[in-house]
């Protein structure tokens, strides 16, 4: 079984920051905006190198989204960064009208998504943002799994014409994808081939899915693991092809089961290849304070939860 190695724990937000810095050097049209969270979003290097291309808007996210839409008029490619909660729910109508409906080339870059921002608690832990964003016509929704992938995705979305929601997080997590990977929007990445169950994971749950697959393999269950970094547009073919082979699926995400990756997968399968599915996700609840590990454990978002779900879904075949 292929071994994925953690090359040293890193936060996905640093992948964003470093990707943005590279873009600052390579693409003169890239500009950045932030709503008083420069340190949290790791944007300082970009700012130091391109002070004239950075806009500090203060604690005013609605204005940030509107300004981002306006900056595209004149050919700029704005990367607007703040916490996922403030980048989506707080400014939904601004994104809907000024960005999505107006089809503006804005990149909404959301850190601290999910429960793993930890101690700040539920006011800052959004578990509904994938749903909010994927429902907007024309919006591309990406949730990356580690530092390398986040950096690659950040660079890739600058080349994509149209609005993008890029979701990443706060904690330091395993960095295991290739440093030189080519990030293809909408293209699933198969991490393990398997025959008994398909595990489809996004974001921080991808590493957990790998751990789960190794253990399942030891117990005689062959798991296919797919990293879905792009939730919209969804790589439906990769999902259908895999489930045709395995006959069942577990979806894994640091998000409410309502509106998330799991529901997108369920829709895809129900239309062409119905199959038993289990959802590793939060169960229509808010988060709370705690360490990321404690919260992943309590809300059933780790390898143990995936193993349990896989065994259950295999029995349902």
């Amino acid at each position: 079984m292929k071994k994925y190695t953690d090359t040293g724990k890193k936060d996905t937000r640093s992948g964003f920051g470093d990707g943005l810095t590279e873009l600052g050097r390579s693409n003169p049209n890239v500009v950045a905006l932030c709503a008083d969270l420069i340190g949290s979003l790791k944007m300082q290097d970009f700012i130091d190198e391109n002070p004239e291309r950075f806009f500090q808007v203060g604690i005013a996210e609605a204005n940030m989204i509107g300004m981002s839409a306006g900056l595209t008029i004149g050919g700029k490619i704005p990367f607007a960064g703040t916490f996922a909660n403030f980048a989506t729910g707080r400014v939904y109508d601004q994104i809907r009208q000024s960005v999505a409906y107006s089809n503006k080339n804005v990149k909404i870059c959301a850190s601290h998504s999910g429960v793993t921002l930890g101690e700040d608690g539920a006011t800052h832990q959004i578990l509904e943002d994938i749903g909010l964003m994927k429902m907007l016509p024309g919006m591309t929704v990406i949730n990356t799994c580690d530092y390398n992938q986040t950096k690659a995705a950040t660079i890739a979305i600058a080349e994509h014409e149209g609005p993008v929601y890029l979701r990443f997080g706060r904690p330091k997590v395993a960095n295991f994808t290739a440093e030189d990977q080519k990030f293809e929007i909408g293209k699933a990445v198969q991490l393990y081939e398997g025959t008994d169950v398909t595990i489809i994971a996004t974001g921080h749950l991808v590493w957990e899915a790998i751990q789960a697959a190794v253990q399942l393999n030891d117990e005689g269950i062959s798991a296919e693991v797919i990293n879905i970094h792009t939730i919209k547009p969804l790589d439906e073919k990769a999902i259908i092809d895999s489930v045709k082979k395995t006959g069942c699926v577990v979806t894994c995400e640091e998000h409410n089961y309502l509106g998330g990756l799991g529901e997108s997968v369920a829709r895809t399968l129900s239309l062409s290849h119905p199959a038993p599915q289990e959802f590793v996700a939060t169960q229509d609840t808010f988060g709370e304070s705690g360490t990321p590990e404690q919260l992943m454990e309590k809300y059933g978002l780790n390898a143990d939860a995936i193993i349990k779900a896989a065994k259950k879904v295999v029995k349902r075949k």
């Binding site: 808007v57 203060g58 839409a69 008029i73």
Partner: protein, 281 residues
């Protein structure tokens, strides 16, 4: 400069277009549209250096954002009659499969529109982004906006107003349509705006007033003066005192025609007060 009488004829024809658009589909917002007819006429016929061969980026031309998108009838009429799209297309206002949606949008590709508006309070932020892009591009042209007075009740405006002054965005001229009316009544009864001049000044804007916002010459003079105030480190706002429904006697001085179309008889009366000048579509 165009002859003022020609411009007044233009404005009268725009008023006819507004009334005929909303009458045909028995929906739309004539009151604010009529009140802003002189503003739009001045802006598109006299003030802005703009190109009807529409280009979204609008580089090296003045660009305009309508934040209170519900006054689309006046915007559409002026865009059509300054060459952005065929005047005949005004007959499709609010109809299915039309580019002339109830509120302006880029979605159907209507030339002249750079962002959707309708959900209020968003236009100034978008305009600030465009103004900053102009600065980055070394483009010395200006960005103009229009906002309803009731619209200033939306908090996002004040985020933008604070940003603009704090960051010396001095290539923007925002105009507030001070007609004192909104859907539920006068702004005074719905939610008083207080002293807008003092508010904008406190935020650090250069404030001017045009007391007679339906006097075309005064609107032109006001906008010309506003241009002289740009480039000096401060954003510029014009408090434009208008009369909602101006030009149609029974629509004036009331909020009743904010979002209501005239019936056949009322249309006839209204049109008789605004005789055809450039030719109806």
């Amino acid at each position: 400069m165009a002859n003022i009488e020609e411009l007044k004829d233009f404005a009268t024809q725009v008023r006819r277009d507004i009334l005929r658009q909303v009458h045909k589909v028995n929906s739309g917002h004539p009151g604010g549209s009529l009140g802003c007819t002189e503003f739009f006429t001045a802006l598109y016929k006299e003030i802005m250096d703009h190109n009807p061969e529409f280009n979204m980026d609008g580089e090296n031309e003045d660009i305009f954002f309508l934040s209170n998108g519900h006054i689309s009838p006046v915007f559409y009429s002026v865009l059509a009659r300054t060459g952005y799209f065929p005047v005949e297309e005004l007959s499709t206002f609010r109809l299915i499969n039309s580019r002339l949606q109830g509120h302006p949008t880029t979605h159907e590709g209507l030339p002249g529109i750079r962002v959707a508006s309708g959900s209020l309070g968003q236009g100034m932020s978008v305009a600030l982004g465009a103004a900053q892009a102009k600065k980055l591009n070394g483009d010395s042209k200006l960005v103009y906006t229009l906002h309803g007075d009731g619209e200033l009740q939306e908090g996002q405006n004040w985020e933008a107003i604070m940003y603009a002054a704090g960051n010396n965005v001095d290539n923007i001229i925002s105009t507030i349509d001070l007609n004192g009316q909104q859907i539920d009544g006068s702004t005074e009864t719905v939610l008083p705006l207080g002293n807008l001049r003092a508010k904008f000044e406190a935020f650090g804007w250069e404030v001017m007033e045009v007391e007679e916002g339906n006097d075309l010459q005064k609107v032109i003079d006001g906008l010309k003066h506003a241009k002289t105030l740009t480039g000096k480190g401060k954003p510029v706002v014009i408090l434009l005192h208008t009369i909602m429904g101006h030009g149609v006697d029974f629509m004036m001085h009331t909020h009743a025609w904010h979002g209501k179309a005239p019936n056949d008889e009322q249309l006839e009366t209204a049109l008789s007060q605004n005789p055809e000048t450039l030719g109806d579509y």
